[in-house]
Amino acid sequence: MASLSLKKITAVWIYTILILFVLAILMGITMRFTQGKTISVSPIEFYLLMTTHGVTMIGIWAAAGIVAVNYLLARYIKVSTSLNVFALVFTVISILMLWASTFIGKFHAGWTFLYPLPFHIAWETWATPMFLWSLMVLSVSWFIWTLGSMVQILKKYSLRQSFAIQHISKKSPSVETPPLVLISMVSLLGMVVCFIAAIILLALLLAEYYSAGKFVNDPLLIKNLTFFFGHTIANEALYLGLATLYELLPEVSGRPKFKTTWYVALGWNCAIIFILGAFFHHLYMDFVQPKGFQIFGQIASYFATIPSVVVTIISIVTLLYNNKIKWSLVNLLFFIGLMGWIIGGIGAVIDATISNNIILHNTLWVPAHFHTYNVMGNVLFSLAFFVWVANEFSDNNDLQKYNKLVMPLLMVGGFGFVLMFYWAGAYSVPRRFAMYPSELSSGTALASAAAWFACIYLVGVLLVLFDVLKKCAKVFSSSSH
């Protein structure tokens, strides 16, 4: 079980994540109100908010996934508190560097920092290396964090057992691998690989920066590395959220725990191959990319959904269908999060079809689908874990006064918010426009509506936040293990 020190560091992580989440939501709302012409923000301010919002959101929800599985893995293995403290310290340093580069240095090349834009300096000169170093600090420290988390698992389970291979070859293996361990290993492996790619990418960019023109990168190679990193971290974060769902949903619903079977093991092992190859769909509109990569991108994007959907959805249906469930905020967040994940996945598959991507690429359809499986998927998985763990910290499962409002607020606000993106995207409104041209004025009205929906979602988040932070505070006055 989790030690007191692990509980305390988990509580600090939750504080950090939730506070950054609220700030990043406020940045997003500011952007949508600006696009809706409700408020006025200069293009540079808009794009520096966009850059900060994107990197912060991807970072905090990837962190939330790692924090959650580390906490829950303590049920099966010895988890290092110092590893989590190390990651937190360097994450905070990296965020401070990032925010300094954007808010003080005015760096605004987007979270994709698509080469060679960071070198066409339209901000303080120091802001480019500050931004790149902030991501390098994050990538190296998280590489150590995720690799260290895998090593912790491998101290108890062999490599074969940690990936549940024995469940594929034998019907009743002598050592059972819990689904949490399997999914954590698969997701952590994906993260380790993507951080290696990020370190190579950032080293190449920093080499060009410090070489003063003697070393020049290839834009296509850098773009492939950028999206391999960006796509993979976003997706693996989602799978870590699913790992917590597998562990906690049966428990809080009063149902038997999930067990790893041959199809669960096979499905999750297959998922990693397809997830790592699906990033090619970000480069469909680069016609110079080899056609084989493009078509593989579509195949991988389609088939990445099969193992996770077939395994997870049927498992959840089996768990819940025609069984009396005591619903609480925790299992409702997991349940609705799963629905949001699937709906966002449908939007993603539509976009990952090359012949659709011609008219959807870099329109608002893209933030539509990734916001769906984050705002209404992964975030809800992590909030479910936060609520559950806060209850555990405080020995208090009481419903807070406004608890019944949380789900309606999150659902109306969240789904309303993403619907405005889908609508605008289908009608060709581009993403990353600080303002819309007159012929695309529908984007303006939809942006304003989206901002109001986001405000509703924010109220729901704040209700969860106040309850969770209050309960988490109790762990610091606790002395028992």
Binding site: I314, T353, I359
Partner: protein
């Protein structure tokens, strides 16, 4: 139904179906029959979903991949070639390859109706987008403008009129105002 509206309709239909299934699943957990044993034969149902999804995806791949932009009008000779050099925050277009030292830029590009044309798109600074919008502000097709590479985009315009070009890759603070246009006659 137009392609844009069809995509939205398809997505919303699927989303409503998923929401309906989740609502049904939720409703079965409130007052299940006392003798209920939950979902029967889950392994068989899992196999059915697996085969169903596999078939759907294979069919979709065979139907959609040939419509990818890389294969459009690939067997036809373009009636006109337009060279495009993107730069922060404008497009240079010419019927001849653009010499950056002595650029000969067309200010009023005219393209033929119902004949294949080819855009050879590159960039002189950062990566840009090259999205072609019709007079109804619908995105028809696009490619990226990447420095050091030339993306060849082929298209056949079937309606005369003015077409706008918008940048669809974030390229800096002037991204939203980076645009150009041409006429199809």
């Amino acid at each position: 139904m137009e392609e844009h509206k069809f995509i939205l309709f398809l997505f919303l239909s699927a989303a409503v179906l998923v929401a309906g299934i989740f609502h049904f699943l939720y409703s079965t957990t409130l007052n299940p029959p006392s003798e209920s044993e939950g979902l029967q034969n889950p392994l068989k149902k899992r196999g059915f979903v697996l085969v169903f999804m596999f078939i759907v995806f294979v069919v979709l791949l065979f139907v959609t991949v040939p419509k990818s932009p890389y294969f459009l009008f690939s067997n036809e000779t373009p009636a006109k070639v337009v060279y495009v050099n993107a730069q922060q925050f404008a497009y240079m277009m010419s019927y001849k390859s653009i010499d950056l030292n002595k650029p000969e830029i067309e200010t009023d590009v005219e393209l033929p109706l119902n004949e294949p044309v080819e855009f050879r798109v590159t960039s002189v600074d950062v990566t840009h987008g090259f999205g072609i919008y019709n007079s109804k502000a619908e995105l028809l097709i696009q490619t990226q403008a990447m420095p050091g590479y030339v993306n060849r985009l082929r298209w056949k315009f079937t309606e005369p009129g003015k077409y706008n070009i918008l940048c669809l890759e974030f390229c800096g603070s002037g991204h939203a105002v980076m645009r150009s246009s041409f006429t199809v006659k």
